[in-house]
Symmetry: C2
Subunit: 315 residues, 2 copies
């Protein structure tokens, strides 16, 4: 049997046919009609699913279930998208609507939660019962697996781990608070901090590299500049590692999962971030000296996690 996973984003919708063991057999994408009525978006989605099945040469009869990840707060029990920032999809009964086209079990979830579920299955380790995925991207997202199941809370919206407080009266957050972890550990925060540091140290290599790049900074640029020995970039990275690690310590103290996987563009730095993060965290989690430590790793699926995780909502 196969699973269909759909990953809805602000710009595109991707659908994939996923095998029992989490491989994407075939995927297709279309643009998201952000301002259309939800019925139109769901019709597009149904067409996309049938197209993907056809290209994968898989019959609908061989599909066990369909899962959809939305960049939204969702009521997963009732199949309703509650709120989406950038798409016209509020209070939309999406499951009921998609049922008009496809008579299969349909599951919906938040996209970050789906990505976490995908990464959990990618671990392929049956001994892991509790797992947290953290995505360091434009913001900081995440998803929580408890007793091998996605945890979505009492209203479908749990797992906003980017919005735990790191610093009282800190940087302004996109949510209504300030000082959230996201304001310090996201790629956006790294870019902001690197620009500030460059401004304060105009003779640094960091300032020069940002200038050479048309005034734009990015994660790779800052890491590369630090590797060249620039003290300003190195300080920015050291702080960034501290910010990431402090949030991870919070997550460990709360959940004591077996594994945390770090995803998002920054995670492509691999050991450049993993090693210093592990070093920083060592001994700082509650009871660190006598309890089994949590393993910290980088995410494996990257952009495919959303499709695989959505597909496996029904697994």
């Amino acid at each position: 049997m196969y699973y269909i996973g759909v990953d809805v984003g602000g710009t595109g919708i991707k659908a994939g046919v996923v095998t029992e063991d989490g491989k994407i057999l075939k995927s297709c994408a279309i643009a998201t009609k952000k301002d259309s009525h939800y019925t139109e978006l769901i019709k597009d989605m149904a067409d996309l699913i049938f197209k993907t099945l056809k290209e994968a040469n898989v019959s609908l009869d061989d599909v066990k279930s369909i899962g959809i990840g939305f960049p939204s707060s969702v009521d997963d029990k009732n199949g309703v998208v509650i709120y989406t920032a950038n798409i016209n999809l509020n209070n939309a009964p999406v499951t009921e609507e998609l049922k008009k086209y496809i008579n299969k079990p349909i599951y919906i979830g938040n996209d970050a939660n789906c990505a976490a579920l995908g990464e959990y299955f990618a671990l392929n380790d049956d001994s892991v019962e509790n797992f947290v995925a953290v995505t360091l991207g434009t913001g900081v997202g995440g998803g929580i697996i408890i007793n091998k199941k996605l945890y979505t809370g009492s209203n479908g919206s749990a797992g906003e781990i980017g919005h735990i407080r790191l610093m009282m009266d800190g940087e302004k957050c996109s949510c209504s608070r300030d000082g959230c972890w996201e304001c310090y550990a996201s790629a956006t925060a790294l870019i902001r901090d690197s620009k500030r540091a460059a401004q304060n140290n105009p003779d640094s290599l960091l300032a020069k590299n940002i200038e050479k790049n048309g005034g734009r900074s990015n994660g790779k640029l800052v890491f590369d500049t630090a590797k060249e020995g620039d003290k300003t970039a190195k300080k920015v990275i050291d702080n960034y590692i501290k910010y990431i690690s402090e949030g991870l310590i919070d997550i460990i103290n709360i959940f004591q999962p077996s594994v945390i996987a770090i995803g998002g563009g920054i995670s492509r730095q691999g050991d450049n971030i993993l090693k210093p993060i592990k070093e920083y965290i060592k001994g700082k989690t509650y009871g660190a000296s006598y309890i089994t430590p949590c393993e910290i790793t980088v995410a494996r699926l990257g952009n495919d996690a959303g499709i695989v995780g959505a597909a496996f909502l029904g697994k």
Copy 2:
């Protein structure tokens, strides 16, 4: 059938015979021999259990299981106490030892987790699947109920919600970090902050009331002084409410439970803390304007929560 709940503390051990619906039929207590070998402590515990059963006039045949809450990190799967700060109980196979005296199913847990489980059952609301209990005492402890079960993580030590970071580079914590929630929201923190405020405002009523009390402050004194209209005490309380609330927002953003119950001595202030906390939190949790809010309440069982929760580890 009945359940036996045992609550092990640094000074005393309490055992209770608990009914199916969470009432303590009879409880007895003894002093904790903190420095004795664990075998002696467990022998005392067995004697205490038999004494309590006798006084309750309940036969061991009518007992379904025994649960014990330790002020410790525990390996609940294997029945071993891993680490305790104040009692000689490290790496102690307590379940195996107690089995020598009593042949019943035995469960062990952390005391704060047990109290949370007790408070969860005290809600007596089957619709509540996810629940967090927070105890504002000497420290800040807590316990997490997920899908109606106590969540203890992959190593038995989850739920250290007092040790999430509220303030980077903040007050020194008893764990290895600084700025933990516990450093701001515990009764200990309130007392510290009230003394500081009194020192800085020697003409305030707060300063006078602390002086009258032999230089000692306590939660009730600060709340009472604020109620009398003293601005210094009021500011201390306002900040304290802010600190409690900011941690609660973190917990809501992560867990989105249906209910959070606040326990500990401070919770006896009832509406004096509940009302301003609810007011502070309103609109500040992630997605507050469109998702079902979490109910915040005060704990119901008080000191009995430990016995009832321990008893119900086996329920």
